[in-house]
Subunit: 409 residues, 2 copies
Amino acid sequence: MDTDPPLQLRVFDLNCWAIRYLSKVRQERIGMIGDTLSQEGFDLALLQEVWSERDYCELKQKLTACYPYSHYFKSGVIGSGFCVFSRYPILDTFLYQYSLNGYPYMLQHGDWFCGKAVGLLIIKICGIIFHVYVTHLLAEYCRDKDAYLPHRVVQAWELAQFIQHTSKGADVVLLGGDLNMHPGDMGIRLLRGWTGLRDSFADADRFEGCEDGYTLVPANCFTVNKELQPFPLGIRIDYILYKGLSRFVVKCDSLVTTTGTAPGKSIPYSDHEAVIATLSVRRGEEAKGSSGSNVGPELVDVVNEAQTEVRARLHAAECQRDSNGRMASLALLLLLLQAAMGLSSLAGWDTPQPFPKFSSSLLSLLATVVLLLSMGLYIFHTIEVRMLQGTEEQMRLALQALQDKLSSM
Amino acid sequence: MDTDPPLQLRVFDLNCWAIRYLSKVRQERIGMIGDTLSQEGFDLALLQEVWSERDYCELKQKLTACYPYSHYFKSGVIGSGFCVFSRYPILDTFLYQYSLNGYPYMLQHGDWFCGKAVGLLIIKICGIIFHVYVTHLLAEYCRDKDAYLPHRVVQAWELAQFIQHTSKGADVVLLGGDLNMHPGDMGIRLLRGWTGLRDSFADADRFEGCEDGYTLVPANCFTVNKELQPFPLGIRIDYILYKGLSRFVVKCDSLVTTTGTAPGKSIPYSDHEAVIATLSVRRGEEAKGSSGSNVGPELVDVVNEAQTEVRARLHAAECQRDSNGRMASLALLLLLLQAAMGLSSLAGWDTPQPFPKFSSSLLSLLATVVLLLSMGLYIFHTIEVRMLQGTEEQMRLALQALQDKLSSM
C-alpha cells in the first residue's frame, strides 16, 4: 500500500445542544443537521448532546441511505447524548463512564445527573482499523472560580488512560468531542501529552472558519454573550484529535468550522460551531513520535500539575465529607433526644415540655431533612475521596514510570 | 529466548472474606494470609474482599520485603475490596466499574452498595508484559430462582469486553477472582469463548486439592452448609484463567487448592479456598487458537443465549420502571389533593374535612414516603433499562461480526 494513494476521510463533529423542551428551535436544527449530513456525505459524524433517543431515531431514519451504520450510546438516567453515523461498518463498541462528574447539590447545572462518559467505536475502513472515541467533558461555568476543574482534570486523565489502554490494536485513533477546555488548559496538555494525540486545528494544512478555530463565538445567535465575557472573540473547546499507530501516518489536510450560522441558513446548527476535518491516512514508516505518549519533561510537569490539583480537591473533599458526617451525627442526636422526650411524656413521666408541640414537630422534620441530606452528601463525598485517592495513586505510578523512562533515555 | 528456559510464575488467588465487624476471626485470618504469602513467596497474589484499607495496610507492611509492589483498587462507598501484591514492578493500573450490580432494595444482600469492578494491572516480568485482571462478580444467592443472573451475565460480558479491548498490548493475560459462576454456566462460557482465556484447573498438568477443584466446600468451617445444599460436595467459583498472546505460550504446570483448613493451621484462610497456579510462559510459535476468541458456532450460541437472558430482564425492568412511575404519579396526585384541601380550609371555605387531622397527616407522610421511594426506583430502573438496552445492542453487533467471520472462514 506504500505507493497507494492515501485514504481520505472527512469527519464531522458537533455538540448539537438538543435538550428537549429547553434548547431553542431544536427540531428545526435537528432537521438541518440531518439534511447537511445527508448532502455532504461525510465518512463519520460524531454528535454530542443528542439527549433524546427520538431525535437520534429521526436522524437515523433520514441518514440510513448515506450512513448505513450508526450507534447511540446509552448511559445514566438521561443518557450519554452521544451518537455516531458512519459510512463504514461499526465492528464493536464500548462505553466508559467517568468516575466523577460534578456535585449533586449543584442543581442549577445538573451535570451530576448526566452519564458523562467516553464511547469507543471500532470501525474498519479499507482494511485499516480505526478506534473512534467520542466524548463530552464537564462544563466550565466560571473560569475564575472553576469549582469543576478537579473533576474535569480527573475526566481528562481517565479519558487519556482509557484511550491508551484500549487503542493498542488500532491503526488510527480519532477523538472527537466537546472537551470544555481551552487549547492550553492543563487537561488538554495532559490528554495530548499522555496519548500523543495531535490537534487537527494546529496541524491542518488549510483552515477556514472562525478566528483561531473558535467553536463558541459571539456571532452565534444562541450563544449567551455574558458567558464569553473574558473572551469576547470566542473560545475553542470542540476538537478533533488523531494519531497514527503501527506504521500508519495521519495528516490533517484541512479543517473547517461553521461561522455562527449554518451555510445557506438563517440560524446555526447549535450553540456550538461544527468542526469538519479532512484527514489523509497512509501507510508509512514507523510513525515516530506520534504513536505513543510524548515522554519528556513537559509531560512530567503536566502530570505533576494535575496531581497537585487532584490533591487540593482531595483535601477539600475530605473536609466536606467530615463536616457532613458531623452534621448527620448532630441531626441524629437531636432526633434521638426528641424521641426520648416523646417517649417519656407518653410514659407519663412528669417532664415539662420545653417547646410547644407544633415547634417540636417542625424541629423533628427539620432534623430528619438535615439527617437525610447530610447522610447523602457524606456518601457522595466518601465516593469522591476514594476516586480522587485512586486517581492520585495512578498519577504517582505514572510519574514513576515516566521518570524511569526519562532516566533510561 | 526460544531456547531459554520458560519463565515460571506462581500465582495465588483468594476471596479473603474480610468484612469488618461481620466476618469471623478476621484479624487472625488476615495475619495468617500475610504469613503464608510471606513464607511462600509467590510471584503474584490476587486478593478479593479485603474491604478495609486498614487490613490492606497491615498486609502491605508485613509483605514489603517479599512483595515490594502492591496496589489497592479504590471504588464505590465501601471500596472494590481488591488488592494485589507483586514481586515485580506494577507499571500502570486501571479500573472499570460494572454498569449493573444488583438492586438497591435487596438490602439483605447489599451488593448494590459495593463498587463491583474489574481492576487491571500492567506488570513487566523479565521483559514480558503481563496484563493482570482481578475481579469479583455478583453473588448467586439462590440457584433455582436467581434474580441476579441477568446482571451477572451483563458483568461477565463487560468483563470479557474490557479484557478484549485492553489486552491488545499484552504478551500474557491473567485473570484471577471470584466469578460466582460454576464452570459450565453461561457467563463463564461467554467470558471464555469471547476472550479465549484458558482455565488453569482444566489445563493443569498436576492437580492437588479439593475434588473437582471446588473452592466452596463443606469441609470449610466458615461455609454455611445450607447454601451448598444442591451441591453437597462443593462448587468451583474461584478461578485463575490465562492466555498467551503475540507468540507467547502459557501452560499450567500445576494447580493447588487449600482443602478446608489452611496448611498447618486449625482454621481456614477464608470461607473460600485459595487457588494457587504454577504457570510457565515461553516464547513460541504464534499461539494459534489461544490468542483470540474461539470463533465458532458454540460462541454464537452462547452470545445468543446471553442476549435472550438480557432481553428477558429488559422486559421485566421496563415493567418495573413503568409500575414505579405510575405509583409515583398516584402518590403525587394524593399529595396535591391533600394540599388543595389544606389550602381551601386555610382560605376559610366551608369544606367538611373527610378525615380527622391526625389521619390526614399520616396519609401525607405515607404519600411522601411512597413518592420518594417510587421516584428513586423509577430512576434506578430507568438506568437499568438503558444499560440492558446498551448491552443487548452490543451483543447484536457482536453476533453480526461473529457471523461475518464464520461465513468468511
